[in-house]
């Protein structure tokens, strides 16, 4: 037995991911635990890092559980000649998935949704005639992709030194049966009855984007909003810390 165990340890075999459809919950709502063992109102641990791509003006890497995202920001650089004159800057967003990031689903709308989430927070008038490009790459899709991309993009913009009113944080909540689950993973998203995605500026306490699908009652919306606001402000603090660390690290170097 011991020899066998030793043999098993030396050969590497990837652990097959369990892909089962979660049970359909009916009366057992309360007994159910989430696939990664979190509480309903508990977010995944977040790892944030700035300066992931050296060639970009600013970049950030974010890892929320299995969701891994890189965002790089280029610019502001002069707008293409073909575009007409504008006294405010332009923002160009693109969200792509790596071929191995997820199975099948395409997310064409994410680019425009990222654009909408960011346009209100960037001080566009601070860079007239120029364009800022924000490219997001989802390395691995593990649920709540868009919120992670948005938060990561705001970190990358801050890293690039672009003027913003505030950092932007985004969190989503899934509603399954009667329970609300914050920061859902792919399996939960697949069988959700409704989703609630919120983007906000935590220090200004303002909501910049809000998307709700599925049927919701008012108390549920209130609860989800409270959950999201709370999570957003906490995420904002983590992001701020991350930026402070990066700043102090660069100060030490000089």
């Amino acid at each position: 037995m011991a020899a066998k165990q030793g043999a098993a340890a030396t050969t590497y075999s990837p652990k097959p991911l369990v892909r089962t459809r979660p049970p359909i919950f009916k009366d057992s709502d309360l007994d159910w635990t989430r696939p990664d063992g979190r509480g309903f109102h508990q977010c995944r641990p977040a790892l944030l890092q700035t300066g992931a791509v050296s060639s970009a003006s600013g970049s950030a890497y974010a890892e929320f559980g299995n969701t891994k995202v890189i965002v790089s920001v280029f610019g502001p650089r002069e707008s293409k000649k073909a575009m007409s004159y504008s006294d405010v800057g332009r923002l160009n967003c693109d969200v792509t998935y790596t071929t191995f990031a997820s199975t099948g689903t395409d997310h064409k709308e994410f680019s425009s949704m990222l654009h909408k989430a960011l346009e209100g927070v960037i001080m566009m008038e601070s860079f007239p005639k120029t364009t800022v490009d924000v490219f997001a790459l989802v390395l691995e899709s593990g649920g709540s992709d868009l919120p992670v991309v948005i938060s990561c993009a705001s970190l990358a913009l801050a890293d690039a030194g672009i003027m913003m009113y505030d950092l932007i944080t985004a969190v989503s909540v899934s509603c399954i049966g009667k329970s609300l689950m914050i920061d859902p993973v792919t399996e939960e998203e697949g069988c959700e009855d409704g989703s609630f995605t919120m983007t906000c500026m935590p220090s200004r306490y303002e909501i910049t984007q809000l998307t709700i699908t599925g049927e919701w009652t008012t108390p549920n919306i209130n609860e989800a909003m409270q959950l999201c606001l709370d999570a957003c402000s906490k995420l904002g603090e983590i992001m701020r810390d991350c930026l402070k660390q990066a700043a102090s690290a660069s100060e030490e170097l000089t």
Partner: protein, 287 residues
């Protein structure tokens, strides 16, 4: 794009602040709504809705298809919107495409519910003819004929009316079929099924201009908006979807306030629309 001089902008905003908009409406009043059903004979159902100067057509086409392997017990619904340059020259080229996809996405959100299908305005399980094998695919097409603001509400209303007008032929399926074969189907020419549209929500867009928000904004008023929230509400008063447009942020309490106002407005809109739809249906039957 509507261009307004600074003094006109000021006039429009002032009117909204004084609760008397340029066409005499109060902040939460809709323009008159006209509904016409059965406007496209080739479609299974169609409707034309006019709200003031905004004019849209929605059509529903049903085709036999196969359910997706992920959801074998459900039919499929696809929403497409076309903002043609006939409505406005700026809709030509990419400008129209972007707006079209944005509207289609918002409508999908409002009509189709969550990923599990809960809270959908259209009951997708009713579209299944034989589980895993045959189902109806519904293609909902919206066309913007002329645009004077508030396109989303008008399209939502048109789709609701078109669905109410939709008749889908009855289908008989041969019962005994091996697992891996497609069953034979027989589409009836005479018997039709109607849709139950009581669950289809209406969309209310509240546009924030200055410190106030208004319902059913005209293009002139939309050019002055800071942000807009589109809320779809069904008959039982539940929210079935929400989208926000415009970059500027809103205080959470304002959004909650808007939701409750939208609920209130949706009741009148829903009743008005229902009576218009049944009047239009009666009118069509007569002719």
């Amino acid at each position: 794009m509507v261009g307004l001089s600074i003094s006109e902008q000021h006039f429009v905003k002032g009117g909204i602040a004084q609760d008397l908009r340029t066409d005499g409406r109060k902040r939460l009043t809709y323009r008159p709504i006209y509904v016409e059903t059965g406007v496209i004979p080739q479609a299974n159902g169609s409707a034309r809705v006019r709200i003031g100067g905004t004019d849209v057509i929605a059509s529903v086409k049903a085709e036999i298809g196969r359910p997706s392997s992920l959801q074998p017990d459900k039919g499929k619904v696809a929403v497409f919107i076309d903002c043609s340059p006939t409505a406005e020259p700026t809709f030509g080229g990419r400008g129209g495409e972007e707006l079209s996809s944005e509207l289609a996405l918002a409508l999908q959100r409002c009509l189709l519910g969550g990923k599990s299908g809960a809270g959908a305005g259209i009951n997708l399980s009713l579209l299944v003819i034989k589980e895993g094998k045959v189902c109806w695919d519904l293609y909902i097409d919206g066309l913007v004929i002329s645009s004077d603001g508030n396109l989303l509400d008008a399209l939502g209303a048109a789709i609701k009316a078109a669905l109410a007008n939709t008749a889908i032929p009855k289908v008989n399926v041969s019962t005994e079929v091996a697992d891996n074969e497609q069953p034979e189907i027989d589409i009836s020419d005479e018997e039709y099924q109607q849709f139950d549209t009581s669950g289809v929500p209406v969309i209310v867009t509240l546009t924030k201009v200055g410190t106030h928000y208004i319902a059913d904004a005209t293009a002139e008023e939309e050019s002055q908006m800071s942000s807009a929230v589109s809320i779809s509400v069904n008959r039982s008063g539940h929210i079935c979807g929400l989208t926000k447009r415009g970059g500027s942020g809103l205080d959470p309490s304002v959004i909650l306030d808007m939701i409750s106002v939208a609920k209130h407005v949706s009741e009148t809109l829903m009743n008005k629309l229902d009576s218009e739809i049944s009047a239009a249906e009666a009118c069509e039957d007569e002719s």
